[in-house]
């Protein structure tokens, strides 16, 4: 026998369930534009039926609905895809960024830049060869030499400045990663507490945690696994970053062995675990992208500093050697031959102990001397001591040494050829980084669409649901009214006999 007022409970449950659903619609709409939000659904299920007995036996009478749980629409497979690809994207973007800045240093397609300076230096030798006794021409040549030195050193300085920028950005990003990791740890704890009973779902906290992993995955390669309690354990390239109880704090530390430091004297940061000081590699992502684009021997800043270094070395060794073999103006002066154009005034220039030729590079100070003889006399334009001062044959030879003579120092190319291949290689590297990043962006975009397709809020859907739950609520209320009327009849309209 069912209870007289049992129907009310059924209806009330219905009203509550519709309300909860409607609230969730509201929550979805409110968070439609929240980053990382996944749409939520109230899972409704029937309540435990009441057993009633009738003449035909017992039967199950429905007692209404209950909101079983609120769950979020999320595809963890898409998440893991996303995290993998966004690390690659972050790496690519940083590589592209650095290469385009290096391109700025070697901006050479216009008629300014290193190539133009090299051309002018060569032209100055040629002009000297036609008028070698003229001090004006010699001064102009010396000035072109200074210009070349300045250009090489300025380019090197610009590259070092980029290294400095990268170092500070790396530090900022590492701090950000630490902050993200500590937040993930705290969310781990909150989520496990909430979900401890096994029934509850910490939807919004999980959304926030996934969003943090999204951000972290841009910075470094991450591997995420979830344990039975709902903790995220995150590893990067084998290093445990976060688990249920702690997180590993990362730090930057000056790398003392990097050639950037030992040769070029510019600080370089490396990533270490703060507690142990152990040096780690993050595999992928923005941070590693910046480190690699700084340290790589071919496509990194170090590689390009090496190339400038090689050019300086060529000028200081091979070019000087040719210059030493020629003769300067004043044949009577004993020191009119064997002079260097670059570096120290005479003799073979020893390799610098730190390998940095760029810093050694300068136009020989002897060429600026004013006494006892004019330093300009030492510029070797003559081939033989017996030649008159009007002879410029050696200046032609020195011009050739810049343009066409192949040198072992320059990998068996000429200085011009060497610089050409530098620019070419840079262009190809930058172009391929751009297209790789572009492709990766498309891929990440695709994955993001996929994710939005699962987790995103669709207004039409929400509106439809709104109408659905509104109607459900209305109908339940109507049943309540009907029951009210029935009971009213029962209580007030029946049994009036004898009153």
């Amino acid at each position: 026998m069912r209870s007289t007022f049992g129907g009310f409970n059924t209806v009330v449950r219905g009203i509550f369930a519709q309300q909860a659903s409607l609230d969730t619609v509201g929550h979805n709409i409110a968070n439609a534009n929240t980053d990382g939000y996944s749409r939520q659904t109230v899972n409704l299920s029937t309540t435990r039926p009441e057993v009633i007995y009738s003449g035909a036996g017992k039967m199950q009478l429905g007692t209404g609905v209950t909101a079983q749980s609120v769950t979020r629409a999320r595809d963890t497979f898409v998440d893991s895809q996303m995290w993998k690809e966004s690390a690659t994207l972050g790496y690519g973007q940083m590589t592209e960024d650095t290469l385009s800045r290096i391109e700025g240093v070697f901006a050479d397609t216009a008629d300014t830049g290193m190539q133009a300076v090299l051309d002018k230096f060569w032209s100055a030798w040629q002009t000297l060869s036609t008028n070698s006794s003229d001090y004006g021409t010699r001064t102009a040549l010396r000035q072109r030499g200074v210009e070349l030195v300045d250009t090489i050193q300025h380019s090197a300085q610009q590259l070092k400045d980029i290294v400095g920028d990268l170092n500070s950005v790396i530090e900022i990003k590492v701090n950000k990663a630490n902050q993200i990791n500590s937040e993930i740890l705290s969310l781990n704890k909150q989520i496990t507490t909430i979900e401890a009973g096994g029934r509850d779902n910490a939807n919004d906290l999980r959304d926030r945690r996934d969003l943090l992993v999204d951000q972290l995955s841009g910075l470094m390669k991450v591997q995420v696994s979830e344990d039975q309690y709902g903790n995220y354990a995150i590893q990067s390239n084998g290093v445990q970053l976060v688990n249920g109880s702690s997180y590993t704090e990362l730090a930057v530390q000056a790398d003392k062995t990097s050639p950037l430091v030992t040769s070029y004297g510019t600080p370089a940061n490396e990533i270490v675990i703060k507690q142990t000081g152990e040096n780690i590699k993050l595999g992928n992502g923005e941070i590693q992208g910046m480190i690699d684009s700084r340290d790589d021997d071919t496509s990194g800043i170090k590689g390009y500093l090496d190339q400038l270094n090689t050019m300086s070395q060529f000028l200081l060794t091979d070019f000087n050697e040719t210059h030493r073999a020629g003769y300067g103006l004043d044949s009577s002066a004993p020191d009119n031959t064997g002079n260097n154009f670059f570096g120290s005034p005479t003799g073979v220039i020893a390799a610098p102990t730190n390998g940095n030729w760029i810093d050694v590079l300068k136009v020989s100070s002897a060429l600026f001397a004013t006494s006892p003889n004019n330093g300009l006399d030492k510029i070797a334009a003559k081939e033989k001591a017996t030649d008159g001062d009007g002879s410029g044959d050696w200046a032609v030879k020195l011009g050739e040494a810049l343009k066409t003579t192949k040198s072992d120092v320059l990998n068996k190319t000429s200085l011009d050829g060497f610089y050409n291949s530098l620019v070419g290689a840079l262009g190809v590297q930058s172009q391929s980084a751009q297209s790789l990043t572009e492709n990766q962006k498309v891929l990440v975009n695709q994955i993001n669409n996929w994710r939005l397709s699962v987790s995103g809020v669709n207004m039409d859907e929400e509106m439809t649901n709104m109408i659905r739950f509104q109607k459900g609520y209305n109908a339940a209320a109507r049943i309540m009214t009907t029951m009210d009327e029935m009971l009213d009849k029962l209580i007030n309209g029946t049994g009036v006999v004898g009153r």
Binding site: T109, D119, S129, T130, D134, G388, D389, S391, N449, S453
Partner: protein, 330 residues
């Protein structure tokens, strides 16, 4: 596939941004008419641009060298023309001297020859800028100086230059004196050098060794002979001609004329080189332009179509973006 509102906005923004990027790219190219702005725009073209720019520079330098060489040779040629005229006059005077002349006549001829000597010294010291064209490689040294006696009479002309050639290279490769030389030395023009003792009574010690050239030696010999009273005309003209002053002057003049002819031929070669280099310049400039200049009509069409796409995206976006069921629910 389930489509959500943020997907639509996200994709819309992505495409809109791409369309803007494309516009920006074309805009950058159109604004200066160059198809490449950084090496990564097109690495191959970028290297070619570098090489072509270098070629333009090289070509300009060699053009300048040729022009310098031509101006040097023009100056030389002008001087040679004058020398040719003056030595012709000297020969006329020598012929006149051999005829019957009064003593005053010899004196007059002698003084004209003296004038010629001075004139020739002046021409021998022809300069281009501050460079003596006939001094060989000692181009900052005055080519000819005169030794005078107490009366101011020129007793010897000293050659101060050397016999080396100045090269102005007009093509890649090392300088080659036979191919690239532009100058005529004092000995080329004024005859071989020899050392003589200049008699200078005013100097103490009264004599000095002087390196002189044939032409001046012979002219001074002619003048000195005519100054004598009476002059020994057989010294001026006799058989065999080679031993006489006039015969020697002919040899000097002929060798000078030979040099002038050769110089003329060289100048013609250099003029050809100049026009060749100028042609090359046109070709390289064209190559350079073809390599890095923008195809303007195509770029404008691209710009227009990018603009259309952008406008279309904007208007479609404005129409579909706000639409949802919300707009239709009362």
């Amino acid at each position: 596939m389930r489509i959500t509102n943020n997907m639509i906005t996200g994709n819309y923004l992505y495409s809109l941004n791409k369309s803007l990027e494309r516009q920006n790219d074309i805009q950058e190219k159109l604004s200066d008419g160059k198809a490449i702005h950084r090496a990564s725009d097109d690495p191959i073209k970028a290297i070619r641009a570098l090489r072509f720019n270098t070629s333009v520079g090289t070509n300009e330098q060699y053009t300048q060298n040729v022009k310098d060489a031509i101006s040097w040779m023009d100056t030389t040629d002008g001087a040679l023309q004058d020398i040719s005229d003056i030595t012709a006059r000297a020969k006329e005077l020598a012929i006149k001297a051999v005829g019957p002349n009064p003593t005053e006549g010899f004196q007059a001829i002698a003084s004209e020859v003296d004038g010629i000597i001075n004139q020739l010294v002046q021409i021998g010291n022809t300069k281009i800028g501050d460079r003596y064209v006939f001094s060989g490689q000692k181009d900052k040294t005055e080519a000819f100086t005169t030794v005078k006696d107490a009366s101011g009479k020129v007793t010897a002309v000293e050659y101060q230059g050397d016999n080396n050639k100045i090269s102005m290279s007009i093509q890649p490769g090392l300088a080659d004196a036979t191919r690239d030389s532009v100058n005529l030395t004092g000995t080329d023009v004024f005859g071989a050098t020899s050392i003589l003792i200049a008699a200078d009574p005013s100097a103490i010690p009264p004599q000095e060794e002087v390196t002189t050239t044939e032409l001046f030696k012979n002219l001074i010999a002619l003048r000195d002979e005519l100054m004598k009273d009476p002059p020994d005309l057989t010294k001026i003209s006799s058989e065999p001609a080679a031993d006489s002053i006039m015969g020697k002057m002919d040899v000097d003049r002929n060798s000078m004329l030979l040099q002038q002819t050769q110089m003329g031929a060289r100048m013609a070669t250099y003029a050809t080189s100049l026009s060749l280099l100028e042609n090359n310049n046109t070709i390289i400039t064209n190559d350079l332009a073809a390599n890095e200049d923008l195809d303007i009509p195509k770029a404008i069409i691209d710009a227009k179509s990018a603009e259309n796409v952008y406008n279309m995206a904007l208007s479609v976006g404005a129409r579909i973006m706000p639409m949802s069921l919300v707009d239709f629910l009362k």
